[in-house]
């Protein structure tokens, strides 16, 4: 799984950090999404899918590899 984020779309709601804290963080200055792991291990995939599903700004895109 490849994870793509769009910092322009992000509205800083923080769902991704709650769903997959190993993969997503928020920038200190403005709370915008930061990608910690673009190719997370299998055990984190469910959390990443949850994060993408609940993101209100459609700022997370998942690519199968």
């Amino acid at each position: 799984m490849l994870v793509h984020i769009d910092q322009e779309k992000c509205c800083g709601a923080g769902h991704c950090v709650l769903a997959a804290p190993e993969v997503f963080d928020q920038r200190d200055e403005d709370g915008i999404v930061v990608l910690l792991d673009a190719e997370p291990p299998a055990e984190l995939h469910q959390g990443v899918q949850d994060a993408a599903a609940v993101c209100p700004a459609a700022a997370i895109r998942l690519e199968r590899v």
């Binding site: 779309k9 509205c11 800083g12 709601a13 923080g14 769902h15 950090v17 709650l18 769903a19 963080d25 928020q26 920038r27 200190d28 200055e29 403005d30 709370g31 915008i32 949850d50 599903a53 609940v54 209100p56 700004a57 459609a58």
Partner: protein, 399 residues
């Protein structure tokens, strides 16, 4: 295909039915029969009503549906709500890119790790309020003594607003959020509150503190008036919502003793429980509003430019396709897809803080008050049907 010429189904907001926790039956009926339908507003103006989870997500994430309340056709639920939405423009009622520019000045303040760092302080406040509430007494009003002061104290701390002024700003908030308030009353409350925040912001210029108002001043990008309007939005949104959600959640748990017992026995499950309560209670009960900036087709219905849209998130949060058995409260449900905080780029800015406050409030109440019960018959509890934010006016409890 539905058209704008259709006869309205009913006047929004419709009356509630027998269960005070459920949305008015008219919305769930519309969801089954005609999920995107025509309704009329208080002044007779027509609007679209959207009731299904999928359709509401589509509307709220589509930039062609504008949040700009000054656009012709924007729907309001009362004359007072129109004044609230257009009297002082905040980013809540703006579109990108201006909305994003202003919102991003605040997103860092409410990000997960920053809010999580507040946990010990919020817990301390919750414990102190319960100490005072239970000191030598075995009954009291949870709204006045706990549910309202907890988020008020926290938002005051974050903004840098003196809590001793709470009678003043809470009264202003009550007027702003009343569907029965006149335009003049809403305008007066807006002016008083924003004047107060402008004076406060001016004072921060000479004596800055560690609050959000001071940080906005230090950025140097906004006028004192703009900071005042932003502060007004955060102050009201920051306490009325969580206060009502806290009290209504406690009441819903008392009416569902098996669910209450489960949460009391499993305080570690409180995060999921709060999501389910947010879904089940959806206190933004008159819906989220947009106006089409161009022609858009949603769910097979053509919505024309200039037509208003009301997204009934309370109905969507009980959409059987998303939440089977959704008319029941089930704290073990994965309810994270609920729309209680909205959806799209306007989704609630303060939701991490609301979650933290609700989690701490509920666990602290359940842990410290093992004999908690309603002190009046359920039928005597006064619900906030006439307010823009649903809840209860008082919650008389015994412990």
């Amino acid at each position: 295909m539905a058209t704008a010429a259709q006869t309205p189904r009913f006047t929004h907001p419709a009356a509630r039915g027998a269960c005070p926790f459920a949305p008015p039956p008219a919305y769930q009926q519309a969801q089954q029969e005609e999920p995107i339908s025509r309704i009329s507003l208080w002044d007779g103006a027509p609007s679209w009503l959207v009731t299904r989870h999928e359709d509401i997500k589509a509307v709220l994430s589509d930039a062609r549906f504008s949040s700009d309340a000054t656009r012709s056709g924007f729907p309001f639920v009362s004359a007072g709500a129109r004044q609230l939405g257009t009297g002082q423009l905040t980013f809540l009622r703006m579109d990108d890119p201006e909305h994003a520019r202003l919102r991003r000045m605040l997103t860092g303040e409410f990000m997960i790790k920053k809010v999580e760092a507040l946990r010990p302080e919020v817990q301390r406040i919750a414990d102190e309020l319960l100490d005072a509430m239970t000191d030598g007494r075995s009954s009291g009003d949870l709204v006045r003594e706990f549910a309202l002061p907890l988020p008020s104290l926290v938002i005051c701390l974050l903004l840098g607003v003196p809590y001793q002024d709470h009678d003043f700003f809470q009264e202003c908030g009550r007027v702003l959020l009343s569907r029965e308030a006149t335009v003049e009353e809403v305008r007066g409350a807006q002016d008083r509150l924003v004047d107060y925040l402008i004076k406060l912001t001016d004072a921060k210029r000479t004596e800055p503190d560690d609050g959000i108002l001071s940080r906005l001043v230090a950025r140097g990008e906004l006028s004192t008036e703009e900071i005042g309007a932003m502060g007004r939005l955060l102050l009201v949104a920051g306490h009325e919502t969580t206060a009502n959600m806290t009290a209504l959640s406690v009441l819903a748990l008392l009416q569902n003793p098996d669910q209450l017992a489960h949460l009391r026995a499993h305080p570690e499950s409180v995060a999921g429980a709060v999501e389910e309560l947010l879904r089940y209670l959806t206190i933004v009960h008159s819906g989220l509003t947009r106006v089409a900036a161009e022609d858009v087709t949603v769910g097979g219905v053509r919505i024309r430019a200039g037509e208003g849209v009301i997204c009934m998130v309370s109905a969507a949060n009980r959409d059987e396709q998303q939440f089977p058995g959704g008319d029941g409260l089930d704290l073990s449900r994965d309810a994270r897809r609920h729309l209680a905080f909205g959806f799209g780029v306007h989704q609630c800015l303060g939701q991490p803080l609301a979650r933290l406050e609700l989690q701490i409030a509920l666990n602290t109440i359940l842990r410290r008050l093992p004999e908690l019960r309603l002190a009046v018959p359920f039928e005597e509890v006064r619900f906030r049907g006439e307010m823009l934010i649903y809840g209860v006016h008082e919650l008389p409890l015994a412990w």
